[in-house]
Symmetry: C2
């Protein structure tokens, strides 16, 4: 028996959101990618906007549904609105592979404009959950993604560009790292995002003179070498930014 797909009573037609969810595993910058049932199709996590729901709230809800996390750094970065980006043929494949009965003129097969967000999360805190249409959701390093459907590759590339631009302005590191971290790990985040090596001494000097960090006790990691200090971002900053993050506008 065929299942009933979502009705368009609940959602705004023609409007979707997609999220590029970044995480950092200590070495690589990764994003979450869904794989749809029985199709070999890979996609960004996304969803639709409810009729009475703020678009930001929809994106936040989508993030919560995939990660269980609330209060995440989330930023809208672009809206993809080309006519040709919509692919009813692909959407039909996905729905059919999931055993849905597809009504005549079904709304999900229409043209969609997608509002894209990127999120920064602490990799270790999350056990991602697939959505109803997907087999699984997994972390993929940004330089080794599967082939993504539709224009999702483009969305990721744009997200990465914007993330790089915001790297200094927005204290990106704060959201990708645990509360305490070594200078080396912080540097690795920067390197992973920028895709280039940085000079250790210059980086350290820069970070310290910016006066954003608090130094804590040393971390005795067990390595045969001098133990590094742990740092955290100053408390005022974490307050300020987590506000700005999800609420703005």
């Amino acid at each position: 028996m065929l299942k009933q797909p979502p009705s368009n009573e609940e959602y705004l037609p023609h409007l979707a959101f997609d999220s590029v969810i970044f995480g950092f595993n200590g070495t690589q910058l990764k994003i979450l990618v869904l794989e749809y049932h029985n199709t070999g199709l890979f996609a960004l996590p996304g969803g639709f906007v409810r009729r009475y729901e703020d678009v930001d709230a929809a994106a936040k809800r989508g993030l919560w549904e995939r990660t269980g996390l609330d209060n995440i750094y989330l930023e809208q970065f672009y809206t993809f609105g080309n006519f040709s980006r919509s692919r009813p043929d692909i959407m039909r494949t996905i729905l059919e592979a999931n055993g849905f009965e597809i009504p005549e003129d079904y709304w999900i097969l229409d043209r969609f404009i997608s509002i894209a967000y990127y999120a920064l999360i602490n990799y270790d805190e999350v056990v991602p959950k697939p959505d109803e249409l997907s087999d699984n959701i997994n972390w993929y390093p940004i330089d080794n993604l599967p082939k993504l459907m539709m224009d999702h590759q483009l969305i990721v590339e744009k997200a990465l560009l914007i993330l790089r631009e915001n790297l200094d302005k927005k204290l990106v590191g704060m959201n990708l790292l645990p509360p305490k971290f070594t200078m080396q790990v912080l540097q690795k985040v920067y390197e992973a995002i920028l895709g280039e090596k940085l000079r250790r001494t210059t980086f350290q000097r820069k970070m310290l003179t910016l006066d954003l960090l608090v130094r804590h006790e040393k971390l005795f990691s067990g390595g045969a070498h001098k133990a590094p200090y742990l740092y955290s971002f100053k408390h005022e900053l974490t307050e300020q930014l987590s506000q700005e993050a999800v609420l703005s506008n």
Copy 2:
């Protein structure tokens, strides 16, 4: 007899665009603002997206309709999607003041998400034209705008923030100035955008070492002082950017 308003056959529901159109008159940074007939309401120029039209193309078309200009620097900068931003009461006032017969459940009174663009144009080249709903369209200096309806003030503020961020990256000056200009005028554009005075010698040195400008003949303005050189942006740059501008994605 009441006029027929636009039907939603032609346009995507719930979706609009608004444009912050910047111009520079030699002293002040200004934007174009519409005033609706018989309402005292001021708004940004905007419009709807046709069912088979790229969103960027819609914004470009809207700009052409208001300015007669094609090939303008136009950049999408944010999408405003809060539920509370839509104001059917205000839309009804505007339509009624224009003598439209408003159908039951009329689509324009629904919720709208607006994709916002900013444009940079050469002030001198333009004679703006009001739309069907408006008495007039005028330039207003950004620090002395009329009270704008709905969230349009917020849209302008965000546009200005983004414009400031892009000031160095995107060669903004090129699009606001005539092909040849003096260093003083270029500096005034920067000052108008940033809202602060800059140091003449530092600015001049910076601009010259960036190696973006070509120096031309002197401009004998009639002032009782040394005549300044005229400059233009290097040809390669103007090519490159005007492409990037309207097409990207």
